[in-house]
Symmetry: C2
Subunit: 169 residues, 2 copies
């Protein structure tokens, strides 16, 4: 074993899943950003957590409205991940700009993403400081999946693909 820089060790993380975080701002405009830093964090009640950088527009949205949708990106959403990851909702309406397909929520006011592997409607129950990010913990109020199952997309260090088990050995 050899000591390495933390940056080198962190590259071991791939593939990492991709969570699309949807939230509305105080004026009601909906926004989407992709996040890799997300996890489930309680079983009963069911909670999920996502770490959002302080400067992100989504950070202000969740603080303003206390709600978000946690959606695992689905096969076919590669372009959406790139588009929403390289732009800020502070400057534009991403839903209009990128023609994002959505459906109406049931438990919150936050739109659901068509094409995601699953959508979890969440009420923010904790907001924890964490270095240069904030951990937002959401209680899952309702869950939705596509009529025809969609496979989850993973981040393979810059390219996005469905992950399959290596059974070739």
């Amino acid at each position: 074993m050899r000591r390495v820089s933390p940056a080198e060790a962190i590259r071991s993380k791939y593939p990492e899943w991709i969570v699309l975080v949807v939230a509305r701002d105080a004026a009601g405009k909906a926004n989407v950003m992709p996040a890799g830093w997300a996890m489930i964090c309680s079983g009963t009640p069911l909670y999920v957590a996502v770490a959002i950088g302080h400067g992100r527009y989504t950070h202000e949205c969740i603080q303003a409205t206390g709600e978000f949708v946690f959606a695992w990106a689905g096969e076919g959403q590669q372009e959406l991940v790139d588009q929403t990851g390289s732009s800020s909702g502070r400057d534009m309406d991403k839903f209009a700009q990128f023609d994002i397909a959505w459906s109406g929520p049931e438990a919150t006011q936050v739109p659901l993403l068509e094409g995601a592997a699953a959508n979890l409607e969440c009420r923010a129950v904790h907001e924890y400081p964490c270095g240069d990010h904030t951990i937002f913990v959401g209680e899952v109020l309702a869950a939705h999946m596509p009529d025809t199952p969609v496979r989850k997309l993973d981040n393979f260090s810059g390219s996005y693909s469905v992950a399959l088990p290596d059974r070739g050995r």
Copy 2:
């Protein structure tokens, strides 16, 4: 899109990575448990987070000593994941019982796992309540990797494999 039970939606998460969490108890005995609920959560400073159930032995260990190692399980550690996931350090010394290969740490008192894809030595800087789990946030003090690279193992809903991108289409 159709409304589903949260339990059904959560199954979309696979593959999920497997983090081996190493910590010592107050008496110095080292222990390992596998956790899927883990993420990176700050860039500068570099922090990682892991959600640990209240009843887990590792929960008391981190509370007692304030240190842990966050290691992505490596190819070849399938059996170790099963062994350490189906037993409790409260009842045994897992390092002795399962003959776990380890190396000495540099920044903490917590042993490093031979065979993991990477080992991150962490000092617990936050401990956040989160439903039936606690989120432990660790500052990464030192990082280590095997001399010969080891691929990360992912959890494909019960079976553990290296995850490869589906490029077959």
